[in-house]
Symmetry: C2
Subunit: 164 residues, 2 copies
DNA sequence: GCATCTTCCGAATACCGTTCGGCCTGCTTT
DNA sequence: AAAGCAGGCCGAACGGTATTCGGAAGATGC
């Protein structure tokens, strides 16, 4: 089964760790010694901290933020998906394929009446229709879908702190 | 006004550019010479390409992917926001603050009956209620909101290619 | 076929990543 | 309270990398 959590228990983050994560969340390609300066530790210490954060799963990876228009996929949409039945099997069969469908940026498994929310990027409205028809409505577990175009996507903080 | 697009016109991406972006989208901290090897150009050329991609706005930045649970914000939600009126002023007043609200990961300006969709991370359900009450329902431009919990978020491709 | 412009490469150097030994701090043991 | 122990931090050293620059190769226009 898939219950095993691949995360080392939980040594909580101290202030240095949080600073490292905060900086890397905004600038993943900063040089290690510059990062060390910024958070106030030696470069070697900083390196060990970053490695530890990665090993513990706090930092999952580093990614470039790409302009999808430049890649020829200027149109984005949110697609609500309601499954035909809410069995564990249908959920599993949809969940296992959804993130890999072409153009899918994120998949949200939702509480509430809609089971899944798909954030997708496509070349144009034809491609969007093709995506829904070819991959969603033809999927045996999918009941209904509803597609909403996204005018604009704005990024918020990627290092959320509790708002008092 | 805000119409000026800060993007150099559009020299379309060649195969090398696309390979660079594809690799960096998955591993933003790869060494430049390793990246150069992978895409088949000299290190100096690769460096110039990456710089050009950044200058052109194709690559917007580099980020660490952080486990929000480790930061103490294990709960995520999607909040649909309907404005009181759909004037340009109300849109502008909401759009200008929404991405900066505490815990907001993404803001989507939507076509359709719901005007905005907020993807947020919070510490617990109390913090979620506080967020909605303190920042949304009290905002003068906000009419109704609807909050849906996210059971699970799965990342799709961050380098979408057209699915034929 | 020549001039020009662009792009790529490879070498050189300055910079950075990474390892390692030793020190300091705080905790346990007696 | 002193000794012993463990963990983490630092700084120096070295091996590897980023970045610059001059020149060569290719493309473009006349």
């Amino acid at each position: 089964m898939l219950w095993a959590v691949p995360k080392i228990p939980q040594p909580p983050l101290d202030e240095v760790d949080r600073s490292i994560v905060r900086v890397l969340a905004q600038n993943a390609r900063i040089a290690n010694n510059a990062l060390a300066d910024e958070v106030g530790v030696a470069a070697s210490t900083c390196l060990a901290r970053v490695r530890s954060l990665r090993d513990r799963g706090v930092i999952r990876g580093f990614q470039a933020d790409v302009d999808l228009s430049a890649l020829g996929m200027p149109l984005q949409a949110m697609i609500s998906v309601r499954l035909r039945a809410h069995t564990r099997e249908q959920n599993e069969s949809f969940r296992s394929v959804a993130p890999g469908l072409p153009g899918v940026l994120e998949v949200f498994h939702m509480a509430g009446s809609d089971d899944y929310l798909l954030h997708v990027a496509v070349a144009d409205s034809d491609a969007l229709r093709d995506f829904v028809v070819d991959h969603l409505t033809t999927h045996p577990a999918v009941g209904q879908t509803q597609t909403n175009l996204i005018f604009e996507r704005m990024a918020g903080s990627r290092f959320p702190e509790p708002g008092r």
